[in-house]
Assembly symmetry: C2
Homo-oligomer: 203 residues x 2
């Protein structure tokens, strides 16, 4: 197997943290988006959408999407510790929260970065007004998430799951656009301190 990975891309970090939590090691090949290595003809043979991460199995089959890779790792390679849920309702609840963290935190923060950050100027089309709309929306979502975390330890319940990984990556990714947990958001900060101090956070 080989994992195509950009050390700076948030979706790649999700997979690395997931693997670290599982204790699974997969050889990596670096594909740096900043150097346009994902746009080469060679990499498009791996993933026609030119996205990282991608996982190639020993038999040549591929998975070209971060959550799909994580699900395969959990179901085919290393079931424990369980990060997608153990029984149907918990699995659905974790899916709900994983997707909430994706659309309400990570995606919003990514849109701020893509549409307002100087790094992307001249590299991709930007819509700064949309980026600023996302910045405001993200701030509201941090308030909402802080309230949610008043009553439970982790994002999807009383234990760590893939939803926490998505949230951690999303919140860390916001920092490049100066989107930060506010001092009064003490529940969110308590959760952040806990998950970011896990060894997997360095992956």
């Amino acid at each position: 197997m080989r994992l195509f990975d950009d050390p700076l891309a948030p979706n790649c970090r999700r997979v690395r943290i997931f693997l670290a939590e599982k204790g699974v090691d997969i050889p990596r090949e670096t594909v740096e988006i900043a150097k346009k290595q994902h746009k080469t003809e060679e990499y498009r043979q791996i993933n026609p959408l030119a996205l990282v991460p991608a996982l190639e199995l020993d038999d040549g089959r591929r998975l070209c999407e971060s959550v799909a890779i994580c699900r395969y790792v959990e179901e085919a390679l290393q079931p424990e510790p369980n990060l997608f849920g153990a029984e149907p309702f918990e699995r659905a609840k974790i899916e709900q929260w994983q997707r909430h963290m994706e659309f309400e935190i990570l995606l919003l923060n990514a849109q701020v970065f893509r549409n307002t950050h100087p790094f992307w100027q001249g590299r991709i089309p930007q819509a700064p007004d949309y980026g600023e709309m996302c910045r405001k929306a993200s701030a509201k979502r941090y308030e909402w998430l802080n309230n949610e975390l008043a009553n439970r330890e982790y994002i999807a319940g009383d234990r760590f799951s893939i939803a926490d990984i998505t949230a951690l990556v999303g919140i860390d990714f916001g920092r490049i656009s100066n989107i930060r947990i506010q001092p009064e958001q003490t529940h969110l900060q308590r959760w952040y301190d806990a998950v970011s101090s896990r060894p997997s956070a360095k992956a």
Copy 2:
């Protein structure tokens, strides 16, 4: 059980099509976004994020997200016909394509609608330049998807899955913004004709 449903919202249609494919009937309560019924204090007790759909179980537990609801239906209520995949690789592959259809088709078309359509003027903040960027991106994704469908019958492989539901809903949702399958996109049109003629498409 009760399903909170907006007859016009694409994420609600995903759940209705999924239930129709399964032959599962769940009583519905209508929450019309156009009438701001999702923003009431009463509905926020159901879903603090004010999103539809939401599923409330008989014991009061809730799932507030479309794919989470579908996964619960498949795993807890009616496993057949299988729409999320049967073995680990197929399950991961369907997850990949479900998410590709979500981010590359449905989300782009939704952003065009939200950011450019007169329906939303004065109701939500709009960024028309971002909407037009998404319109261009969506057109490229239709070309990509047409190429993908040259070699297989359905979105994620040789059988119908939840990825087809997301793609169908995404493409139909594009029509309100005049985003359409192009005459030369014959593989995409062949697929569209097949999935939109299934009885579930009317759900």
